[in-house]
Symmetry: C2
Subunit: 232 residues, 2 copies
């Protein structure tokens, strides 16, 4: 059975594709489900496919030789990921883990040259994705070099809720389970420091915590913390 255009018609990656173009892209893809905590692909593994997240949230994790984990990013609905083929790489540089149950479109790498030639705007959007990831990663290096932990965590939280936030009556809530440890691994710090800061912010009414939950109740106030403009 063939996948339906409506799956991807609304996504920015396919903004300037017409009906036939969409069909051409979908013809080579298959859709599959990944339960929470399962791996879509694994660091160091042979890169055989590239992916697009239709539903859910995916955590991209790098593990160092010594066993340290770092969360490189979260993938949101509608984003391409695992596009090693577009960078001329043959292995995945990180692992992708479903943060919740996910639905994923998968293309075999073999389809890439053909797609690139016949649907150039699709390829262009892949390159743009890579470019903006490079931007983000460089911005992160800059943050880690110049800002201190409190600002980094505040920025990270604001980024998460702006990209993967869900409005509730209390404020904006992170749309997937996230532990203090996860936040630590995103910001290069320890879960202890994250916990302390979240507790402090909760006392100030900026956020509301819970088990694997964070709600930003006062985004503007948190912004002030992130910019280090606060009188202590």
């Amino acid at each position: 059975m063939t996948l339906d255009r409506s799956l991807i018609a609304g996504l920015p990656a396919f903004a300037d594709l017409d009906g036939p173009g969409l069909d051409a892209v979908l013809a080579r893809a298959r859709s599959s489900r990944f339960p929470k905590d399962s791996e879509v692909f694994s660091q160091g593994g042979e890169a055989a496919s590239f992916f697009l997240l239709l539903a859910g949230h995916i955590r991209v994790v790098r593990t160092s030789p010594e066993g340290h984990q770092v969360i490189a990013r979260y993938i949101n609905e509608g984003e391409l990921f695992g596009i090693a083929v577009a960078m001329g790489r043959s292995t995945y540089p990180a692992s992708a883990v479903a943060a919740v149950d996910c639905v994923v479109l998968t293309w075999p790498n073999a389809a890439w040259p053909d797609l690139q030639a016949r649907v150039p705007s699709f390829a262009a959007s892949a390159y743009q994705t890579i470019g903006s990831r490079l931007q983000d990663t460089q911005a992160q290096v800059m943050e880690m070099s110049t800002q201190q932990v409190e600002q980094r965590i505040a920025h990270a939280l604001l980024r998460i809720v702006s990209q993967s936030g869900r409005k509730t009556e209390q404020g904006i809530e992170v749309d997937f389970p996230i532990t203090r440890q996860d936040i630590a691994e995103m910001t290069g710090t320890t879960l202890h420091t994250v916990s302390r800061l979240l507790s402090a912010w909760e006392d100030e009414g900026l956020v509301k915590g819970g088990r694997q939950r964070v709600v930003v109740t006062n985004p503007h106030g948190l912004m002030v913390v992130a910019e280090n403009r606060r009188r202590k």
Copy 2:
């Protein structure tokens, strides 16, 4: 006057181009000289061109809103840089400064779509360049999250001399002027810490310092430091 094929024939970026292919690429380029400390392009500026370094060394620098500087990387001979166009960006995300007198090939961005279509292996090498920069930058985030300053500086030094080292009778020397401050801005630390560590390493016979000079006299020993395998 037209540029000669021999300028670029040996470069990895053009490995699988034949004579006519090389000419097609060169037809749109012009060559120019940048004196030491001059800017090839400027952070935030309109991205009008992309570049290839023929001779010299270039420092890619990002400046934060608060005025902090971070050295994102050094560009070596034969490398593409400023390829914002390949990422679909319209401004440069960093500045590029000549670390020594440089010779640079410049293409107008307008030539990109055409080159991409007619010389796909050239485009592919640009995408690969971006991919490996993303890799490097993510590796740097990982380092900054998990390693301590001493290891980071040792790694950075080894990376520099392996990419831009010049053999001397003393050891391998960094091939361009580099200050303690520069090293600090590459590793997210302060010039004081860098100076202290270089002094200590000099006492151990691992490196030899000088004004804007670093020579690695014992690469293997420095490797031991980088891997944190040393008995203190």
